[in-house]
Amino acid sequence: MSNQTINVQKELLRQPSTIALVGNPNTGKSTIFNALTGLRQKIANYPGITVERKMGTTIINGVLHKIIDLPGAYSLNHKKADERISYETLIGSYDHEEKPDLLLMVVDASNLERNLFLASQVMDLQIPMLMVLTMSDIADERGIRIQSQQLSNVWGVPVISINARSKQCDVQIKQALVEQGVATPKPFQWNPSKPLRQAVERLDKEWLSEHTQLPERARPIEALRLLAEGSLEDSFYQYSEEGKAKKLIEELQNTLEAQGENPTAAEVVQRYRFIGDSSEGSVTKEQRDEQTWTDRLDNVLTHRVAGPVIFVLVLLVMFQSIFSWATPFMDMIDMLFIEFGAFVGSSLPAGLLNSLLVDGIIAGLGGVVIFLPQIIFLFLFIYFLEGTGYMARAAFVMDGFMTKVGLHGRSVVPLMSGFACAIPGIMATRTIENWRDRLITIMILPFMACSARLPVYAVMIAAFVPDKRVIGFLTLQGLVFFGLYLFGIVMAVGSAAVMKRIFPTGKPTPFLMELPPYKWPNVSSVVIQSLERGKIFVTEAGKIIVAISIILWVLASFPTYEPTASDLADMDANGQTSEQMISTLQLNQSYAGTFGQWIEPAIEPLGFDWKIGIGLLTSFAAREVMVGTLNTIYSIEETEEQLGLIERLRSETDPETGLPKYTLATALSLMIFFAIAMQCMSTLAIVKRETNSWKWPLVMFGYMTVLAYFSAWITYEWANTFLLG
């Protein structure tokens, strides 16, 4: 391997520049990004697709530079959306991302050959770069020693070795950029065979240069891709004279085959061969036969029986912790909003503005922010587990079961997150590569019984399900409660199986995943990412919640009701306090009340009256609002909230027949409705954000509401006939 002189460029960093982080997934790219940018980062989706775009800023030697963290890629053969973005950005043809001036080529030292494959492709694009070797501690453990200087001589770019988990890694990188600078690598260092080189040159000259807008340095890479895949189908350029291109590609492939080269594999095999040969001088490996920690852990964690059992245990611990750890914070937030509302309410003169601020905006916002602790805790767990390398194993052990029901191994964790709240669950579906699998997971995720359904279930069960022992310590109430959770899972699995048939399937993607070595995650990176998730949740969903809260407030407050003298006399006669009664009457004849009574005929078959109807309407903002709304409607003293409401529900009678208005049938019907219906605005908002279109949230709302309606109807009829008949 001949050494080459490195053409170092240091002047690039004297002016503001755009620096891109490029590398395989799981190489510590995000950790470096977090260390370089700290909290000066912005995470959003690329427009039109659901690939995450991360950018931030960093200061090197007094100059402010932009840092972009490109999606992790194994190659530049842009088959997947995220790889395509990396490729298009690198060649400067992606409209939504700036063309990088220089690159930090992140390479996992413990898996050098695989990482150098992408590096060698990127080098063909001739962008100035610094190669950053990460995971040197794991490489050390495995007895792999890399001579950075030797590697630098082979590839013609400066190379540094860092420990991405050390707090100093940003300092190390900045220092290297200042002292060692960057260098523009030479193309085709991997010595492609003569026939392959000739084929690339011909395709470039006879077609790419004339008929495409590709910059010169990107054309060889595009030619290699076309030769390997032989199709222009997923090309993102509008090629003219496609027919001519197809003919030329076919001819070149035939020529390659005649010269003993396999067009599909030639590039990959030759790059790997060069990487293997060139590593001889720079990499030494000790032969170690003993089992590593990763081997020992994998023997247990991916075991066919023990693996799934451990996974379920991990989840149990996770959700129990989320519930118990988040509760004090949620109580605190609840208190803060109540105090703040009371403070605002008492500081402003009574009137419309006061009511809008306190009952509309502050109450609405409080309803969202209260879930923030659960969301942050959930993401702390998820990022922590991801950082350890366990998530890949969890997906692997559950893949068999998930495939059977039409999903993918990677759907497991998001679905489980849905028990806490559908929103973080939907956000967690980003780890699913295949768009169809991801979409189905998103579409069924709201069936998982989230924590907001708990209050509704609790009230209805306590009011209408008899508290009798069934077997051992199991009570009927407990069984119904468990049954509702199980019902959610069954609905999710069933819907997935149906959707699998409906959605354009394409080929199923067989599970193939790299299992990263186990390691202790970087705590600050985990914390930064979780906080960032929390921020996204509050800002994105918060905006919409505030808007709807205002609308609901308007609907429930107008037209305003002025009690007449005879109304007041009636109230006195009935022994009711006038404030409670006025608010009930206010609700009765408000737009929301009128609407509730207007939709009553539609919900009557389900056993619901207009009061529940208003509850259904308001609980669209968030499911738990249902209990609050029923409370308001029945004007119950707040101190006896639940007991009072439960008794009121039981004692509510039909004025015409004198029979109880709500029965076990009503309760079952309502619970089934809540288990299925899409009664959550925040979820719809997040689905819109994650799918980048209103189509999917609308489809979700539509099918879940229809399904909920008919299921509740059947439940009501069935319960009336068989349980009460």
Binding site: N77, L112, E113, A265, T302, H303, R393, F511, L512, L515
Partner: protein
């Protein structure tokens, strides 16, 4: 002797001799270092396979593993 990856035992060393899957899956395997001619060690075979190729540990499901034809090199243990 060339056999599907699914028929190998834990600890067995194999050389990848033919990727008999769709070109898309072949590409994914190759990019991860599982190229024809590469040698690897079977870490786990419980229907689904874990194959260590170089420093890369690949989790491969049964249907895909059936289409990876390998040549046992020498048996460990």
């Amino acid at each position: 002797m060339i056999v599907p990856l699914t028929t190998t035992k834990i600890g067995e060393q194999v050389r990848v001799s033919c990727l008999n899957c769709t070109s898309e899956d072949t590409c994914r395997l190759q990019e991860l270092g599982c190229v024809e001619g590469a040698t690897g060690t079977v870490v786990s075979n419980q229907k689904n396979i874990i194959l260590q190729v170089g420093e890369c540990r690949l989790a491969i499901t049964h249907p895909l593993a059936m289409n990876i034809l390998v040549e046992p090199v020498s048996k460990k243990k």
